[in-house]
């Protein structure tokens, strides 16, 4: 009977999982409402992990894609889309991280970017033009916080799950490096860069379908200058996951850009005024 075999599989998995190292991704506060359940699942490879079959992943990919298109404010659906479609890209990213000394140290140390791990006071005292200061300005100007990233759930490998989590957390740093605000145009530009740099299908989809929601003036800017610039730089830049950002707060932003082979943005994109609704 199906439930008996399922339970037997769970038991086998449970025995295996006892010897796997504990997942790294849970020092910070949990934000999901069902976080209590995740602690009790015995077949999870890391806290928050939900093992899924291929059929479930395909259904999730389609469902989350449709939902994300209909309602772009469902950030959790964008996240799920990324997780269910990104396996090959994640494997490639991990390889690139393993072959790079800085990337390798990130994989070993597993830093997490959360308000609890960042020293915001120290960063505000840094000189103007430093990466830390610029990042803080970005957080303040756009009213965002690094704690709003969803945890990874559907990646069935503990290290790849960390790579995915790292990609999500590095997204804000990319905004800072590229000088893009968090309005729709800025997000699309960053997505184009990420698509070229990481190869994640979710970024490619975002880059292709994001422009559909832009107003005409922004669309023009995107096609004429911003888009080609983001694409070019994404291709030639060093893999953004291979940078240990947490050790480079004092470094000058221009210097960091040069090191990563990123050109400064061709146009300054106005920061979003009040609501995102104003953009549509």
């Amino acid at each position: 009977m199906w439930p008996t075999s399922v339970r037997r599989l769970f038991c086998l998995y449970q025995r295996r999982c006892k010897f796997l190292p504990a997942g790294p991704c849970s020092k910070g506060p949990h934000r999901s409402s069902s976080s209590d359940f995740s602690q009790t699942t015995h077949d999870a490879l890391y806290p928050g992990h939900i093992p899924t079959t291929l059929l479930q992943k395909s259904l999730l990919a389609v469902g989350s894609g449709v939902t994300a298109l209909q309602n772009p404010y469902r950030h959790d659906m964008v996240a799920v889309l990324g997780e269910t479609t990104g396996h090959l890209a994640l494997v490639q990213l991990r390889e690139s991280m393993r072959n790079d000394p800085e990337g390798f140290s990130i994989l070993m140390e597993r830093p997490r970017i959360r308000l609890s791990t960042l020293d915001l006071n120290k960063m505000s005292l840094m000189p103007d033009g430093s990466f830390g200061r610029e990042y803080l300005c970005f957080l303040d100007d756009n009213h965002v916080t690094p704690d709003s990233r969803a945890d990874v759930k559907f990646v069935d490998d503990e290290e790849l799950a960390y790579v995915m989590q790292r990609y999500r957390e590095v997204h804000d740093f990319l905004h800072t490096l590229l000088g893009m605000p968090t309005n729709m145009l800025g997000e699309v530009a960053v997505k184009i860069f990420e698509a070229a740099n990481t190869g994640l299908p979710m970024c490619v989809l975002g880059a292709v379908l994001g422009p559909l929601r832009l107003k005409t003036s922004h669309l023009q800017t995107l096609f004429k200058t911003l888009g080609p610039w983001a694409l070019q730089n994404g291709r030639k830049a060093r893999c953004v996951l291979n940078v240990f950002y947490e050790r480079r707060w004092e470094q000058n932003v221009e210097e960091l850009r040069e090191e990563l082979n990123i050109d400064p943005p061709p146009v300054t994109v106005a920061k979003r005024s009040t609501h995102r609704a104003a953009e549509h």
């Binding site: 069902s34 939900i50 999730l60 469902r74 799920v80």
Partner: protein, 328 residues
């Protein structure tokens, strides 16, 4: 006191005979899980710490109620949408069947336990309203050629008689679900004859012999001690009152069962994640269905609680079963 001892003794004997049956026949059906769980529960009861099932997990009995509360707190806002998505709208037909089997007459008092978002109560009130309409139309037709005698008796009846108002009480342990239900009621404009009460199915906040009909639709499998809920049902019903339970049950047809299992475990949690952003609650839902006793076992449990003329009807091939019993 004596009744509970008798119940306990009967349960031990039943478990013993069932274990013998299982080992003798070697048949593995879904119900052996719950039998095994019951015998496990007996053993752990002796050991001193009582554990029960929460989906496919094992948890302490005290924890189960809390965990179930959290599940429904999470799903309350999207509960109705998810029901439609998961059952492709068929849950409405199941609830309609329940009402038609119930066939309540004007003046009936309903207690809908685990009634949450109020589906059964709303249907009950609408059914009664349509019954009253029918009665009035029938009376109007009959009144077309009355004799003087009939007309005078009719007037005296109308003056003296007070129409018995039907009341529906929705009782649920979860305040979020009741909130959603109340909002639904307000938006539908149904306010009279309806009350919303927070209460535990194992310990109802009502007196004895109060209600004509007790219903529990898709709620009893979430109760930690089902026998206690059944006994409470027995207590609050009037003599002649009816107990009705809609619940997910065992599918006997093997092909349908395979399709149902695949759909339950592969599709439903995905729907939960995409629509409600909550995989785990819907994983619990499909697992809890598998841990619930099958039609025959549940019928026995209802009989043990003291109900008579207990029988069940399978709906949609056994995916859902409607159990009914009377308090005499």
């Amino acid at each position: 006191m004596a009744a509970s001892i008798k119940l306990f003794a009967r349960r031990i004997l039943r478990d013993f005979s069932r274990n013998v049956y299982v080992s003798a026949s070697g048949v593995s059906t879904g119900s052996t899980h719950c039998r095994a769980a019951q015998s496990c529960r007996c053993l752990s009861h002796e050991a001193g710490d009582r554990s029960t099932h929460f989906g496919f997990e094992t948890v302490l009995e005290e924890e189960k109620a809390k965990k179930v509360y959290q599940v429904f707190e999470n799903v309350a806002q999207k509960y109705d949408v998810m029901n439609d998505a998961m059952s492709l709208g068929i849950h409405r037909l199941w609830k309609d069947v329940l009402l038609h089997a119930m066939n309540p007459q004007p003046g009936a008092r309903l207690l809908d336990v685990a009634g949450g978002t109020g589906d059964i109560a709303f249907r009950f009130l609408e059914y009664i309203k349509s019954q009253e309409e029918k009665m009035r139309r029938r009376e109007a037709r009959a009144m077309q050629t009355p004799s003087w005698q009939e007309i005078s008796t009719k007037y005296s009846e109308e003056q003296g008689a007070e129409p018995q108002e039907s009341r529906a009480v929705v009782c649920d342990i979860n305040k979020e679900m009741l909130k959603v239900g109340k909002q639904k009621g307000d938006s539908m404009g149904i306010t009279s004859g309806l009350s919303w009460v927070v209460g535990d199915a194992e310990e109802l906040p009502f007196g004895d012999d109060e209600f004509d009909i007790y219903t529990i639709a898709f709620g009893i499998r979430n109760v930690t001690h089902i026998e206690q809920a059944l006994q409470e049902a027995q207590r609050v019903l009037k003599p002649g009152g009816r107990f009705m339970c809609l619940e997910f049950s065992k599918v006997s047809n093997p092909i349908l069962s395979k399709i149902y299992d695949t759909y339950s475990f592969q599709v439903i949690p995905v729907l939960g994640e995409v629509i409600a952003g909550d995989w785990k609650s819907y994983q619990y839902l499909v697992e809890s269905i598998r841990r619930f006793p099958d039609q025959g076992d549940f019928q026995t449990m209802i009989e043990d609680a003291g109900f008579y003329c207990v029988n069940y009807h399978n709906l949609t091939g056994g995916i859902v079963a409607l159990h009914s019993g009377f308090k005499l």
